[in-house]
């Protein structure tokens, strides 16, 4: 179940062309709606790609059909986070990683909060 209108996708590829990080994704955004449509949402939830999504909304902004792959990524992350009952350590590690860097002091608060958010159920 998703609130994204996956049936509207006509696989034109503009999302993957727009995405600033699609080049490094195992499953680029133009596959996402199709995967869910074909009942393979699970395989999307297992993809690395959904964790590298920047939530920059370029895919949604340039999609000619009003599909929002960015939302599918977040929903797919939730599948993992909620199902596997991820403990806080996953997120805490990320935060630790941030502030242990040598420039850690300058790191904006919003990044720490966002990183926590992304990885907590």
């Amino acid at each position: 179940m998703t609130t994204v209108m996956i049936e509207r996708c006509m696989t034109c590829g503009r999302c993957s062309a727009a995405c600033p990080v699609a080049f490094a994704m195992d499953v680029p955004p133009h596959f996402w709606a199709v995967r869910v449509r074909q009942g393979e949402g699970e395989s999307l939830a297992r993809a690395e790609a959904i964790w590298s999504c920047l939530a920059c909304f370029c895919c949604a902004a340039r999609c000619p059909r009003g599909v929002r792959p960015v939302e599918l990524a977040e929903q797919a992350r939730s599948v993992t986070l909620r199902k596997e009952n991820h403990t806080a350590t996953f997120a805490d590690e990320t935060v630790l990683q941030i502030i242990s860097k040598k420039s850690g002091k300058a790191i904006p608060q919003q990044l720490i909060v966002a990183a926590m958010r992304k990885k907590r159920a």
């Binding site: 609130t3 600033p20 990080v21 490094a24 964790w51 590298s52 999504c53 920047l54 939530a55 920059c56 909304f57 370029c58 949604a60 902004a61 340039r62 929002r68 960015v70 939302e71 977040e74 929903q75 939730s78 990320t94 935060v95 990683q97 941030i98 420039s103 002091k105 300058a106 790191i107 904006p108 608060q109 919003q110 990044l111 909060v113 966002a114 990183a115 958010r117 992304k118």
Partner: protein, 266 residues
């Protein structure tokens, strides 16, 4: 004109300078900024899952204050602005969301009535860029300044209503009003990679480099931004190709209200 001001967590910590400059500018322009009472962190990201309610309550509380006091809610940080706008939009258009927030707290009855403004919109729509031009003590003559919009102010454009998400002009008009030459470059609305900063420094460096190169290639000497995370990323990864500062800095300078007291920015 009276506004309710929502500073947010970053402006209270690593981006104190942005807060300080904005307050000085507001004072100089006779804008009455009242800091919102007991504000809580907006969460920095807007949860895209419709069923995630709790992370949006902080924004709802701020918006309710703005509605009740009948004052526009003003933000500076791009992330705060994004979250406030998105939550406001959802409260206005999603009845299930409205019901859900009242189930957390019966007092949280809210249907998107507040007006959320970015400080840049206040400058354009309440002060006016033309009026601003007339108030300058030190116009930034000959300076070549590029705007770095990033993502969060622009997209999704139907919710943010900030500007044309693919060819925005508001920052350029602002730069022009300050007497400088706006430098438009294609990458100005692309993402700095901030959301991946903790895990993928290399990827971020790659994105930032493209943005900085695009700006420098068009002759920009300085980039201005409204987002502390964008600023951090640019400083961290652009290798000094261009200078980056908050958009308020150039106005503070042009108005003559900056005091070079940098120790608040730690």
């Amino acid at each position: 004109m009276e506004f309710l001001y929502y500073p947010g967590c970053t402006l209270s910590t690593t981006a104190k300078i942005l807060d300080k400059q904005a307050r000085s500018i507001a004072a100089a322009l006779d804008l009455s900024f009242t800091e919102i009472e007991n504000w809580q962190c907006c969460g920095a990201t807007f949860p895209l899952n419709a069923d995630e309610i709790a992370p949006k309550l902080a924004a709802v509380r701020a918006l309710i204050q703005a509605r009740n006091q009948n004052k526009p809610l003003v933000t500076l940080c791009a992330a705060c602005h994004h979250v406030m706008k998105q939550v406001n939009h959802q409260a206005k258009n999603d009845a299930d969301f409205r019901t859900a927030i009242t189930s957390y707290d019966a007092d949280l009855f809210y249907a998107g009535e507040a007006t959320v403004l970015h400080f840049m919109e206040v400058l354009r729509d309440y002060v006016g860029f033309d009026a601003l031009r007339d108030l300058l003590e030190y116009p930034l003559k000959g300076r070549k300044i590029g705007a770095y919009y990033g993502c969060m102010l622009l997209r999704p454009s139907d919710v943010m209503g900030f500007d044309d998400a693919e060819n925005p002009q508001i920052f350029e008009e602002y730069i022009r009003a300050l007497g400088a030459v706006p430098v438009s470059y294609p990458m100005r609305n692309e993402c700095c990679g901030g959301y991946r900063a903790p895990e993928d420094a290399l990827g971020c460096a790659n994105l930032v480099e493209r943005i900085a190169k695009s700006a420098a290639g068009r002759g920009a000497e300085t980039l201005i931004t409204a987002c502390p995370l964008c600023l951090y990323q640019m400083v961290e990864h652009s290798g000094g190709a261009v200078d980056v500062c908050y958009f308020t800095e150039i106005l503070a300078e042009a108005l003559g209200v900056d005091d070079d007291d940098d120790d608040s920015n730690d």
